[in-house]
């Protein structure tokens, strides 16, 4: 046993000293460092974002119920060391003087909110400050909108149920709310004790919404969820922050997909890089193995010595890689994200280290080891017979296991079976496809040599003779270009999409209830103040009565919110299809449709109502019912900060029904008094300020965009290692050839031509195949995973083969430049 380890150690130290292990070690080091750092970064960002999204909804977990929540739920949370607090929300009419309006009345307990903050001001349009407590007994905090609607001010009393409560503060921001233009009634915040005395709700009836907010350690939250999930009643809803805000959720989902994609790309490239480096190492060990066999070492023994040598190497290099990965991840976080995540978050040391260690072993055993299988076929006779050909062994089959292990690794980190499985299979498919294609193309090339001059013929024969090696090289180059290409295409689309979300002039105000007689004056007022608004949509409250003659029942496929809110829906008209709407079926309105009873309906709403293209729906609007034909089904981006509607009609119908109007516009944040003046001039309109939401979305996107850009650095680093390892994999043979050609008197220029033209050809082939592969993969990703419209990138299609040629030939020249400068006899292959 000792002899065995001594020999492994001996092989390790000697090969290390002679530089034979340099390339594998470097590939492992860079890969493990990148993977560890990436996992560190994403774990930390994920914790940060969880924290931030928690702040958006006021807790880490929320149990919602239409009836009082049993005490056991809070007790269990406390037992786990989690913080809890209750809230009760009731929709109720509230009054001041003669004015009445609907309000969302919310009772909270001290300690609320558990995450995020409540912001208030001491006066209407006063300075926003964080509230450190909740409203004291007998007092309430109310939204500015409510004050406008009731004509009340700070210090006035508002009647809620049987109680009159004094307004002490203006409520500006409150975390536990979902942004919904039509659904939101202005809020009143009070203590839960006061709420109970208003008599606006009866615990026996389900007109109130009870919430138990929970926060604390994420693992404990997960444990709590495991405990609570099977126990909750059907009317209960257990939700995490990520379930709450669809806009943030969509951003998080997409960024998670992107991070997963980058992880898959990096680990695949790393695996191939290490396999290429190991292939060269393995070939260079043939004579050593033959000699060891000649001296009497058994087949399995030699093989095992190499295995242990690689494990030892993996332990040493992997540990350094993990260390460097953690440090670089930590430094990046400190440098870039400390400002965004103001609250210090725990550093995730354990998980990235474990993933780093696991990937080290997969990379070493799965990718570095299979090429060494070839050494099993080396016989001792090789010491006498130099002319024996290299043993034949399967270059693909031994990688079936590592590919599966990569799948496990990716699954551990990404936790998305379909995404990881499909992507890895696609990468594998691209590899096999390019292998077949290259064999075919090189086969065709061999038939073209007849009419070429000697040098070109020699060159093509070189390509043909090294068919196996060349095909592998093209596959490797192709994988780099395809996967980096996919990442590039997806990243471009993602950043474009996000850029729209953080565009400086996206609307931060919504205006509703502009009556027809005030519309022109309102438009002029905006114009005078240089405010550009989106178009003014006429709005009429409508009820869908029947679909194709069948009465509509708002059954269980509708959520309770939809049942109450959408039984009466807001219908509008437009002749222009906005950019955030996309026709899925049918056609958009034409000028000749004006005044005709036609409708365009939103896809999901249509599904729930059972509406199809050409269905006839009966609408009750403006005190009469009309029958209209569905001529299009639309997909709507509900998060575009623009007004959007389930049902749209052509112009000329709603206008006759005295509609109110709504629009959205952007007002620079410094124009603090604009909204105040607007409300003074048009007191009847409803003005919704969504600046805070826009700002939060923006800060999320800034962090995520930086992460996306940082991940590029890792991908580039691994790609270059792979490129270099691939070029070096045929270096020895090129050396031998160059040595002979130079002895025979070939000029450096001619030699350069031979070497470069081969690399140019390989680079071009790899690039051309990658264009197809990258587009197919990114089409799938855009369509199935990210959900953005796919567009063929022509520039990319032209550029990729050129990039392939340039990268491979420059890399090829740098990798082989020794053959031009070293005297022929000193060239050793």
């Amino acid at each position: 046993m000792m002899k065995f380890f001594r020999t492994s150690l001996f092989l390790l130290t000697r090969n290390w000293k002679s530089g034979e292990l340099k390339l594998i070690s470097f590939a492992v080091l860079v890969s493990v460092m990148c993977i560890t750092s990436m996992v560190f970064l994403t774990s930390k960002i994920a914790t940060g974002i969880e924290e931030k999204s928690g702040a958006l909804v006021g807790s880490d977990l929320k149990l919602t119920s239409p009836s009082p929540i049993a005490a056991g739920y809070a007790k269990k949370a406390k037992d786990l060391g989690l913080k809890t607090t209750y809230t009760i929300g009731v929709f109720s009419m509230v009054a001041h003087d003669e004015e009445l309006t609907l309000s969302e009345v919310k009772g909270v307990q001290p300690g609320y909110p558990l995450r995020g903050e409540v912001r208030t001001a001491t006066a209407l349009f006063g300075e926003s400050e964080v509230a450190n407590s909740i409203p004291t007994k007998g007092t309430i905090w109310v939204e500015p909108r409510l004050l406008s609607l009731l004509g009340a001010d700070i210090g006035d009393e508002i009647t809620v149920g049987v109680k009159s409560l004094k307004v002490t503060r203006v409520l500006l921001e409150e975390p536990d709310r979902i942004f919904d233009v039509f659904g939101a009634a202005p809020m009143i915040l009070m203590s839960i004790e006061d709420l109970k005395t208003t008599e606006i709700f009866d615990p026996g009836e389900s007109n109130a919404t009870y919430k138990l907010l929970i926060s604390g350690n994420q693992n404990k939250i997960a444990e709590y969820m495991m405990w609570a999930q099977p126990r909750i009643e059907p009317t209960h809803l257990l939700a995490q922050p990520k379930d709450a805000n669809p806009r943030i959720q969509r951003i998080l989902k997409r960024s998670n997909y992107y991070l997963s994609l980058a992880f898959i790309v990096n680990i695949t490239l790393a695996g191939v890089a290490i396999a290429m480096a190991s292939r060269r190492f393995s070939k260079r060990q043939f004579s050593t193995v033959a000699l060891l066999r000649c001296f009497g070492a058994g087949n399995a023994w030699v093989f095992s010595c190499y295995l242990v040598m690689l494990v030892l190497l993996g332990l040493i290099i992997g540990s350094i890689g993990i260390g460097l990965g953690l440090v670089s991840g930590y430094v990046l976080i400190q440098e870039v994200f400390s400002e965004v995540f103001s609250k210090p978050l725990p550093d995730p040391w354990v998980w990235p280290s474990l993933i780093g260690l696991f990937s080290t072993f997969i990379l070493i055993l799965g990718f570095a080891f299979p090429p060494l299988l070839a050494t099993r076929k080396i016989t001792a006779l090789r010491v006498l017979r130099k002319d024996l050909p290299d043993p034949k062994w399967s270059e693909i089959l031994p990688f079936a296991l590592p590919v599966s292990l990569v799948f496990v690794l990716v699954f551990l980190q990404v936790k998305d079976f379909e995404l990881s499985g499909t992507l890895i299979m696609m990468a594998f498919g691209v590899g096999v496809f390019s292998l077949v294609l290259v064999y075919t193309l090189i086969g065709l090339l061999s038939k073209l040599t007849g009419w070429l001059d000697f040098l070109k013929r020699l060159n093509i024969r070189n390509v043909v003779r090294r068919m196996g090696d060349n095909a592998l090289q093209v596959v490797a180059f192709n994988l780099v270009l395809t996967l980096v290409g996919v990442l590039f295409l997806v990243q471009g689309d993602l950043l474009n999409l996000w850029e729209k979300d953080v565009a400086p002039n996206i609307p931060n105000y919504f205006v509703l209830n502009v009556v027809g007689s005030q519309k022109v004056a309102f438009q002029e007022y905006l114009k005078e103040n240089d405010v550009v608004s989106n178009c003014f949509y006429p709005i009429v409250q409508t009820r869908v009565l029947s679909v194709d003659g069948e009465k509509v029942r708002y059954g269980s496929s509708f959520t309770s919110g939809e049942r109450s809110v959408h039984r009466l829906i807001q219908v509008s008209s437009s002749m222009i299809l906005d950019s955030d709407n996309r026709i899925l079926k049918g056609r958009w309105f034409e000028a000749s449709d004006e005044g005709k009873p036609l409708v365009s309906i939103e896809q999901r709403f249509a599904e729930r109502l059972g509406v199809k293209l050409n269905s006839e729906i009966e609408l009750y609007m403006g005190r009469k019912s009309i029958k209209a034909k569905v001529i299009s089904i639309r997909e709507v981006d509900w998060h575009s900060f623009k007004p959007n509607f389930f049902i749209l009609l052509p112009s000329g119908i709603l206008e006759k029904m005295t509609p109110s109007y709504m629009t959205s516009f952007y007002v620079p944040e410094k124009e603090l008094l604009f909204s105040k003046h607007l409300m003074e001039k048009f007191p009847m309109v409803t003005l919704l300020d969504v600046q805070m939401i826009v700002a939060k979305v923006r800060s999320f996107l800034l962090v995520l965009s930086s992460v996306v850009e940082y991940l590029w650095t890792f991908t580039f680093l691994i790609s270059f290692v792979l490129l270099f390892a691939t070029i070096l994999s045929t270096m020895d043979e090129r050396m031998r050839e160059a040595k002979l050609l130079r002895i025979l008197g070939i000029s450096n220029r001619q030699l350069l031509w031979i070497v470069l033209s081969e690399f140019v050809l390989l680079g071009f082939l790899a690039g051309a195949i990658a264009v197809v592969g990258a587009h197919i993969m990114s089409y799938w990703l855009a369509d199935r995973v990210f959900g953005f419209p796919y567009s063929l990138n022509l520039q990319f299609a032209i550029l990729l083969p050129v990039v392939g040629m340039v990268l491979v030939s420059v890399g090829g020249y740098l990798g082989t430049r020794r053959i031009f400068t070293t005297p022929p006899l000193r060239l050793t292959g």
Binding site: S287, T288, L291, L292, N299, A300, L384, K386
Partner: protein, 182 residues
């Protein structure tokens, strides 16, 4: 002995158990070599056989001392390092122990190979054209050393060569022509 292509190296490979005959059998110490598995033949070589090659076959990544040490380590011989040093001293290369093959002349490399071959005290030593890559003067030095050490350790030396001077020094010389003993 024989000219190039007469089958000398093939015969040596078969005798040493490095290759298998297409027919017939090879007996080594009463054992039929070609009936043994590859691993059993390897074990037999480890215990009984040493090699010297025309192109020296030193591992370029190992120093002279490490090259000698390699078969000793593989055989699990105790005090291997001391023995390797002793053998390097015997072939007159004590001061070149830490040099790599590329830093040694052809003659020196073959002397390292001789030290390596004898260090395990093999019963039979197969030498394939041991002077094939050396000039006459160096070849003589190497051959003198080979026979001197051989005598000292009482080893059976099977030498393949087309060099008649070397052949003359052997106790028995067999001629091969087109694969047949003549």
């Amino acid at each position: 002995m024989g000219v190039s292509g007469s089958g000398k190296s093939t015969l040596l490979g078969i005798m040493a158990g490095l290759d298998l005959p297409s027919s017939g059998k090879i007996l080594f110490d009463g054992q039929v070599l070609n009936q043994l598995s590859e691993d059993k033949r390897a074990r037999l070589r480890a215990k009984n056989v040493g090699f010297i090659f025309q192109d020296f076959q030193l591992l370029p990544n190992l120093t002279a001392l490490e090259n000698v040490l390699l078969p000793l380590e593989l055989n699990g011989i105790k005090k291997a390092k001391q023995r390797a040093n002793d053998f390097l001293k015997k072939v007159g290369l004590a001061d070149r122990a830490v040099h790599y093959p590329r830093q040694l002349s052809g003659g020196e490399q073959q002397r390292v190979a001789i030290a390596r071959a004898f260090s395990t005290h093999p019963r039979v030593l197969f030498a394939d054209e041991p002077t094939g890559n050396l000039d006459q003067k160096t070849a003589k030095i190497v051959v003198d050393l080979l026979f001197e050490v051989n005598q000292q350790f009482d080893t059976t030396l099977v030498c393949v060569t087309h060099d008649s001077t070397l052949g003359d020094r052997c106790q028995r010389a067999l001629q091969l022509s087109y694969g047949k003993l003549v």
